[in-house]
């Protein structure tokens, strides 16, 4: 994929849509988006991420669960944009409800993760997503997951940004 294509969403635009922040924001940009259908996000693994200090000393591998987390964060963007969420709605936390993932090859520093998501199901308060993460022609993770906004947080109990 050419890297000089202007992203659909840059990092600043992403942080306006999701509550996650460094060091727990795992997408750098959204490069393709089709409302209610699909989204392609990217994350370049620099090697400076704090988790590499422990995972593993002398053998840096991005933890698979964090790659799934990156997929989930991209899923939140896909949901938020597809539902035309207002700023107030975006503040309401979405949670991973269910994940089925296959970890196929490791991701290393220098890899540019391409997170390719497709909507399986979209409804008010929930999105089911199927996705593949690739890097340099390798398939890293294949996963299906469900993101939910539980009714109790829809009522405003978990406004993470407001709690700061």
């Amino acid at each position: 994929m050419p890297t000089d294509v202007a992203p659909v969403l840059d990092l600043a635009a992403i942080t306006a849509l999701v509550p996650h922040r460094d060091p727990f924001l795992f997408i750098d940009a959204v490069t393709e988006y089709e409302k209610g259908a699909r989204l392609l996000a990217v994350k370049t693994i620099t090697g400076d991420e704090p988790f590499f200090a422990g995972h593993f000393p002398g053998l840096p591998i991005m933890p698979g669960v964090l790659i799934v987390e990156a997929m989930a964060q991209a899923g939140v963007v896909l949901y938020t944009l597809s539902m035309d969420e207002t700023e107030d709605e975006r503040r309401q936390t979405k949670f991973l409800g269910q994940v089925e993932a296959r970890f196929l090859t490791p991701a290393y520093p220098g890899d540019r993760l391409e997170i390719d998501l497709r909507v399986v199901r979209l409804m008010k308060g929930a999105i089911a997503v199927k996705g593949t993460v690739r890097a340099g022609g390798r398939t890293i993770v294949k996963a299906e997951f469900l993101l939910m906004q539980p009714a109790r947080t829809r009522e405003g109990a978990a406004d993470v940004r407001a709690e700061r």
Partner: protein
């Protein structure tokens, strides 16, 4: 697909979804998902997605309101399979 086959598939999905709940060991066709089995909204959405995948049907979200018991889910799935066959 026969009703018995659909019922078996629905029960497997419900059990899979509820297996995190320690108290859910067994349930009957008439047990209420919410009142008897403490199913939450997340699990209900999960059930909808799994039903669509397993039975290759398309279920509107409004059908979720009819998901009260195994029997009612089987009714919804059977109706969808029938309408697809016609």
């Amino acid at each position: 697909m026969t009703r018995a086959e659909v019922e078996q598939g629905v029960k497997a999905i419900v059990l899979d979804i509820l297996e995190a709940e320690d108290e859910v060991k067994d349930f009957g066709d008439e047990d209420d998902f919410v009142e008897d089995l403490s199913m939450d909204s997340l699990q209900a959405v999960s059930m909808l997605v799994h039903l669509e995948k397993r039975f290759r049907v398309s279920l509107p979200e409004s059908d979720m309101n009819r998901f009260r018991t195994v029997r009612s889910v089987v009714d919804v799935v059977m109706a969808n399979l029938d309408s697809r066959a016609n």
